[in-house]
């Protein structure tokens, strides 16, 4: 074996000083209920890496939505509240206004954030509430088994658009980040993905930047993550990540939509 040729065995490598990746400590040591390959898990993981790296595990309060990530609080080892469907931004407003020195974030699906919760999201953004919204856009209602979401793209088949979404009658796919970016209360809007290694790295950086901005009190930050739902898209995880790349990202291009003006 290769190892032998170089005279190195696994035990030589598997040593604390050689550790280059481990599960973040802020992610609880339990199984996540998400389907195999689901982007929710990936985002949980990288966000907890950020929390760990910034050393803010005791200074952050999260708001879980109603959606597949309703159980986020079972995995993130931080104080959390579970909000009614769509109301995470209102709940986060209540928290942040009471605890302005703490980090606050919401974690929401596209149905939660942009359908039923559109108004709470819009107005929190417009008030410039100084918290972070992590917006998982998987173009579908995951938890309720695959109905059309505001972000479902043109022609996409879901259980409530069984013949493909027809924007003329069902509404157009909504780019919520683009919608609110012009509001003066909004500091940072970016769209990321977790379908490739590189995208995961970038998404993590975006989450970290958003928390830095929050620390500086710059206002509302939205990190949208174009994600997958292999179960309801009826694809394998690998296929689903390709669909993200080839179909979703062209419609939801990645990158920063708004960045704060540099303060001097």
């Amino acid at each position: 074996m290769a190892g032998e040729v170089l005279d190195v065995v696994a035990e030589d490598i598997v040593r604390p000083e050689n550790l280059v990746y481990r599960r973040p400590s802020a992610l609880l040591d339990v199984d996540m209920h998400y389907c195999p390959g689901c982007g929710h898990s990936t985002v949980h993981k990288i966000f907890m890496e950020v929390v760990e790296e910034m050393g803010i595990q005791h200074d952050i309060i999260g708001v879980a939505p109603v959606g597949c990530s309703v159980f986020a609080y079972n995995y993130m080892d931080i104080d959390m509240q579970q909000a009614a469907h769509g109301r995470a931004c209102a709940v986060a407003t209540g928290i942040k206004r009471m605890l302005p020195d703490k980090f606050v974030f919401t974690y929401q699906g596209d149905g939660d954030l942009a359908a039923i919760g559109g108004n709470e999201t819009l107005h929190a953004a417009n008030r410039g509430e100084n918290f972070l919204v992590i917006f998982i856009n998987n173009a579908i209602y995951g938890m309720t088994s695959g109905q059309m979401a505001p972000t479902t793209i043109d022609g996409m088949v879901t259980t409530t658009s069984p013949y493909g979404r027809d924007p003329k009658t069902m509404g157009y796919p909504l780019k919520f980040g683009d919608l609110i970016a012009p509001l003066p209360g909004v500091a940072y809007v970016t769209r990321q993905a977790v379908n490739t290694v590189q995208n995961v790295r970038r998404a993590k950086k975006a989450l970290q930047r958003a928390l830095e901005y929050q620390k500086q009190g710059l206002g509302f930050c939205l990190v949208e993550i174009v994600s997958n739902c292999p179960s309801n898209w009826k694809m394998t995880p690998v296929e689903s990540n390709k669909y993200v790349q080839n179909v979703l990202i062209p419609f939801y291009p990645l990158g920063d939509i708004k960045v704060p003006e540099v303060k001097k």
Binding site: I61, V70, D77, M80, R87, A90, R97, H123
Partner: protein, 355 residues
């Protein structure tokens, strides 16, 4: 004696909130209670640093309360009938997650957009749970401006004692009218830490979760059993009511809130006419003062329940009385307030003429 002022009920409530050291008010304007947010916008922040935030809607307001209450803060809102209807999902969540907070419904005439005049049509919604699932608000029914003020601190005390939402149910007139009120002393905003409150995971302790989701029915049933035990405890410890003239009463007038005062006047007129009328006013609508009705029932010829609705509290009276005496109802609806004469007249029609 504390400071005495002539104040609107809504203003007295607002002033009392500042003095009770409330941390946050989230609300949305609606007649006949907009004076609360207006008064607080003028007075609160500069005096105690209390947060006053006009939410984009009642739905947002109640969920902001959820967030703030989840941090162990004293948070409150006020609204009127349609606005309270919009809060029902949020209230069910708050009750289920066992968060303490205070609400007031300055009840107007319904259903629908209705009128902005005083009414009591939201009794069922308030006491039986207008939201989904088995939960109860602890409900206080003031009958004058003084109680509009007094029930703020009382409400928060009870809310935190039980970790349960408390609702002040008052009709529009109680919000709009002015009376003499003795204001409570200014208390500081206490920065208490509660072990259940999410303020950042403790350095040496478990993280805190505020949730009402328990996907396993057995677990959810446990939550429900805990809630039910709490309600039982409230029934044992928190029932409040007021009576008059029960000693020799042959009849009882009963009503809550403002109407109880009209009934009181009707009782006085009736007594002058020689009818031995007594009077019961429930102060807590939930828990309902069942016992006093059960006790008096076998001793009287009948109970007349008067409400500004189509007959709602009367069901609780009947449930308390269990057929042990006659229970009749007289009500006005849609914002119409009954007069004492009218009450007495109907009493005579129901109980005297027919005898």
């Amino acid at each position: 004696m504390g400071e005495v002022k002539l104040m609107k009920g809504n203003e007295a409530l607002a002033e009392a909130a500042i003095r009770a050291g409330v941390d946050a008010y989230f609300g949305y304007p609606i007649t006949p209670q907009s004076e609360v947010i207006e008064y607080l916008s003028r007075e609160a922040t500069k005096r105690t640093g209390m947060l006053v935030l006009q939410a984009e809607s009642e739905v947002a307001a109640i969920n902001m309360i959820y967030g703030a209450a989840g941090c162990g803060k004293k948070a409150m809102t006020t609204s009127s009938s349609p606005g309270i209807s919009l809060m029902q999902e949020g209230l069910s969540y708050i009750a289920s997650a066992e968060l303490p907070c205070l609400l007031a419904n300055i009840n107007r005439g319904g259903p629908g957009l209705g009128t902005i005049q005083p009414a009591q049509g939201d009794y069922f919604q308030t006491t039986k749970g207008g939201g989904h699932g088995d939960y109860h608000l602890l409900v206080l029914a003031p009958y004058n401006v003084q109680e509009m003020a007094d029930f703020v601190k009382l409400g928060f005390d009870l809310a935190f004692k039980y970790r349960n939402p408390v609702m002040i149910l008052a009709d529009g007139a109680l919000g709009q009218m002015m009376e003499k009120v003795e204001l409570p002393p200014q208390l500081p905003r206490e920065n208490k830490e509660y072990p259940w409150a999410t303020t950042g995971k403790p350095k040496n302790g478990e993280r805190r979760i505020i949730t009402s989701l328990h996907i396993q029915p057995e677990k959810m049933e446990e939550i429900n059993l805990r809630l039910q035990r709490k309600y039982k405890q409230m029934e044992a410890e928190e029932v409040r009511y007021q009576t008059k003239n029960l000693e020799d009463a042959e009849y009882v007038f009963t009503a809550f809130g403002l109407v109880s005062r009209i009934a009181l006047k009707a009782m006085d007129i009736g007594r002058q006419k020689g009818y031995k009328i007594g009077w019961i006013r429930p102060i807590t609508l939930y828990p309902f003062p069942k016992k006093i009705y059960a006790e008096i029932a076998p001793k009287v010829k009948g109970i007349l329940d008067i409400e500004m609705n189509a007959g709602q509290m009367v069901e609780d009276v009947m449930l308390s009385v269990q057929g042990k005496t006659r229970v009749e109802f007289y009500g006005r609806m849609g914002g119409v307030v009954p007069t004492p004469d009218e009450i007495l007249e109907n009493f005579e029609k129901m109980f005297i003429k027919g005898e």
